[in-house]
Subunit: 220 residues, 2 copies
C-alpha cells in the first residue's frame, strides 16, 4: 500500500513536469502564431489548451485522492498541496498562451505586433518559454538553486515590459490604437506567464525546504 | 480534539468570508480612486493589499495544519482543499484591486478613464464588487443556487468589455494611446476579478455537492 502510494505521488509529479513541457510548447507555438501570423498554429494552440485543461483536472483529482486515501504528512503533504497549486498555475499559463493565439487569429493575416516591437516581443516570449521549461526542470530535480534563477529572469521581463510602455506612451507611436491595445494586452499575457513560472519555482523551494516564502498564499 | 478541529475548520471559513469582505472594500475603494482621481484612497488600497496578503498566508498555513494534523476526509477534505484554492483567488483579487489603484495613482490628478467610458467602468466595477460580495455570502451559506447566479453576472461583464472594445477600436477614439492602454488593462483587471468570483462560486458548489465542474483545475 505504502509503495503504491509513493509510486502514485511520483507519477503526479512526473505528470506535472510533462504538463509543463506541453505548456512550454504552447507558449512557443503561440508566439510563432503571433509573430508569423500563422493561424493554423494559432488554432492548434487553442485546441491543445482544452487537452491541457483535462490533464489538469485529472492531476487535481489524483491529488485529492492521495490526500483522502493516504493522509500524507510533512514533506509528502507539502508535495501534494504544492501540486494542487502548481497544476492551477500550469493550466493558467496554458490559458494565457491560448489568449496570445486568439489575438494572433483575430488579426490574421496581419501580424498583431508592429514591426518595431517584434524583437521586444520575440525576446519576451523566449524568456517566458524558457522560464516555463526551467520551472518544470526545477520541479523534476527539486532544485532550489535553479528555482531561484527564475526570479532573475523575471527582472528582464520587467525591463522589456517597461520599454514597451515607453514606446507606446511616447510621442511617436505611429501604429494606432488597435496595435497599442494589442501590445498592452499581449505584453500582459507574457508577463503573467513569467509570474506563474516564478511562483512555481517558489513552490518547489517550499517543497524542498519547508520554508514558506513571504507572500506565498497569493501565488500565483 | 475532534471538537477543536471542527472549530478550526469553521474559523478558516469565517476568515475566508471576512477576507472576501475586505477584498470587496478594496474593489470599491480602488474604483473610487480611479473614477474620482483620489490618490489618498489609491494609497490606502495599495497598503491594505499587503495586509490581505498576510491574512492569506495565515489562512494557507492553517489549512496546511488541518491537513497535517487532522487528515480530513470526504466533505471536510473538500472544504480544506477548496479553501487553499479560494484563499489564492481572494489574494489575487486584492492584487488586481491594487493594480487598479496604481493606475489611478499614476494618472492623478487626471482621471485615467475618459468621460465617455466612465459609466461603463462604473457599472463594471459595481458588478465586480457585488460578485466578490456574493462569492463570500455563497461560501458562508454554502448556497449552490447563489453560486450559480455568479456565472450570470459574468455575462454582463463580457458585454461591458465588448462595448469597451467597440469604442476603443472604432474610428472615433479621440482620447489617444495612453487612455486606450489604460482602458484595455483596467477593463482586463475588473474582468479577472469577476472571473475569480465565478470560480469561487464553483468551488462552493464543489464543497457542497462533491461534483467537480468541468475545467475545475484551471480555476481561476
Amino acid at each position: 500500500m505504502r509503495e503504491t502510494y509513493r509510486v502514485e505521488l511520483e507519477s503526479v509529479i512526473e505528470d506535472l513536469v510533462s504538463m509543463s513541457q506541453d505548456v512550454q510548447v504552447a507558449v512557443r507555438d503561440s508566439t510563432r502564431a503571433l509573430l508569423q501570423a500563422d493561424d493554423a498554429i494559432a488554432e492548434r494552440v487553442i485546441t491543445e489548451d482544452e487537452k491541457l485543461d483535462r490533464v489538469a483536472d485529472d492531476i487535481e483529482h489524483r491529488c485529492f485522492s492521495l490526500l483522502s486515501l493516504q493522509a500524507p504528512v510533512a514533506g509528502e503533504l507539502r508535495i501534494v498541496v504544492s501540486a494542487l497549486r502548481m497544476v492551477g498555475e500550469l493550466a493558467r499559463m496554458g490559458d494565457l498562451a491560448a489568449h496570445v493565439a486568439k489575438v494572433a487569429r483575430l488579426r490574421y493575416p496581419e501580424i498583431a505586433i508592429p514591426e518595431r516591437l517584434r524583437p521586444n516581443f520575440a525576446r519576451m516570449a523566449e524568456i517566458s518559454e524558457q522560464m516555463v521549461g526551467t520551472a518544470g526542470s526545477t520541479l523534476r530535480a527539486r532544485d532550489v538553486e535553479m528555482a531561484e534563477t527564475l526570479a532573475q529572469n523575471d527582472e528582464e521581463m520587467d525591463d522589456l515590459r517597461r520599454s514597451q510602455f515607453r514606446l507606446l506612451l511616447g510621442d511617436e507611436w505611429p501604429y494606432g490604437v488597435e496595435a497599442a491595445v494589442d501590445v498592452a494586452l499581449l505584453g500582459r499575457y507574457y508577463e503573467r506567464i513569467a509570474d506563474h513560472a516564478v511562483s512555481m519555482g517558489k513552490r518547489v523551494i517550499y517543497v524542498v525546504t519547508g520554508a514558506v516564502p513571504a507572500g506565498a498564499a497569493q501565488w500565483p
